[in-house]
């Protein structure tokens, strides 16, 4: 078969902006699907409201590697708009603040060449800052009592971030073999 990745890649690369746009659209869709799937997972008995796995962070991590900061922010914005449509204004701002903070942190960690971070560090930093952003918005919009959540949510973010980092570490090499994403 002639349909090897190289020839297809050449054709796709002919128009860079179309490629970037396609990737952003694809990864946004992946992010939305991941959060939808995540909502189907029954909550653990000891989980606080707002405690989630953060699987859609995977799509953002991928967008950072593939499209750098602007692309990842687009994915975050798509997630936030989805939250606005399905869960309302508060969810919009919480999703946006958490997503932007997490994206900035992970972007910086990918950029610093002197310190090579592993998937674990990037995953937990993303999860932790996502929590921080959401809590900051909740402090303003919901109640100033939510700061009591902070220690518990932070500890949980270490666990969920380690998990998303692990998933990222496992699937990244496979996804990179897809011509559109390589």
């Amino acid at each position: 078969m002639l349909c090897r990745g190289d020839s297809m890649k050449e054709k796709v690369m002919m128009n860079k902006s179309v490629l970037v746009l396609t990737r952003i659209g694809l990864l946004s869709a992946v992010a939305l699907i991941l959060s939808a799937v995540e909502n189907m997972i029954p909550a653990l008995p000891f989980a606080l409201p707002g405690m989630k796995l953060g699987l859609s962070n995977l799509a953002v991590m991928f967008a950072l590697e593939l499209c750098s900061l602007p692309g990842a922010v687009c994915v975050v914005a798509a997630k936030a708009v989805f939250a606005l449509l399905t869960r309302g204004v508060t969810a919009f701002f919480m999703s946006l603040a958490g997503g932007v903070l997490a994206t900035l942190a992970m972007w910086m960690m990918l950029r610093i060449k002197k310190l090579q971070f592993g998937c674990l560090g990037i995953g937990i930093a993303g999860a932790f800052l996502h929590n921080c952003g959401q809590l900051l918005v909740a402090l303003v919009l919901v109640s100033d009592a939510v700061y009591a959540y902070f220690p518990v949510l932070s500890l949980a973010s270490v666990a969920t971030g380690a998990l998303t980092g692990l998933v990222y570490y496992i699937i990244m090499p496979h996804l990179k073999r897809i011509p559109l994403l390589s």
């Binding site: 971070f117 674990l120 902070f150």
Partner: protein
């Protein structure tokens, strides 16, 4: 910029990952310390009860110098009342639970000596924003 140009696989763990981990652990510790630290509550009143009856009420803000209050319930117990809070200094009881309770300084807290049938409870005259419980 395209970061996928290098085909080297990013490792799962590197030593640098300890930095975000340390930051998180540190902020959790700070958060817990902040949450558990006693707050400067205004308008605390110590309600002292002896044998089930309210014996006296002391507004802690009005206490300038700490003083001891000897209570004669079924057994003798001594309270130390200061502007920061209240604690049992000594008690004539076998288990010393009341003394071991230590200083109580936040509204809702109480110290009780059951053998002496003496108790002290702090109430707040103004509603403070502290959290009693969280439920989901």
């Amino acid at each position: 910029m395209n970061y996928s140009s290098d085909n080297t696989k990013r490792a799962y763990f590197r030593m640098a990952d300890l930095i975000p981990l340390a930051v998180i652990v540190l902020s959790v510790v700070l958060g817990v310390v902040f949450l558990l630290s006693p707050k400067d509550e205004k308008g605390l009143t110590a309600v002292v009860s002896v044998e089930g009856e309210v014996y006296t009420e002391v507004a802690l803000d009005a206490v300038k110098e700490p003083y001891e209050l000897t209570l004669h319930g079924d057994r003798e117990a001594v309270l130390l009342i200061s502007s920061d809070g209240v604690r049992f200094v000594t008690s004539d009881c076998p288990d010393k639970l009341c003394v071991n309770t230590g200083m109580i300084s936040r509204s809702g807290q109480s110290a009780v000596c059951l053998p002496a049938r003496v108790s002290v409870k702090l109430i707040s005259s103004e509603e403070s924003g502290g959290i009693d419980a969280l439920s989901g």
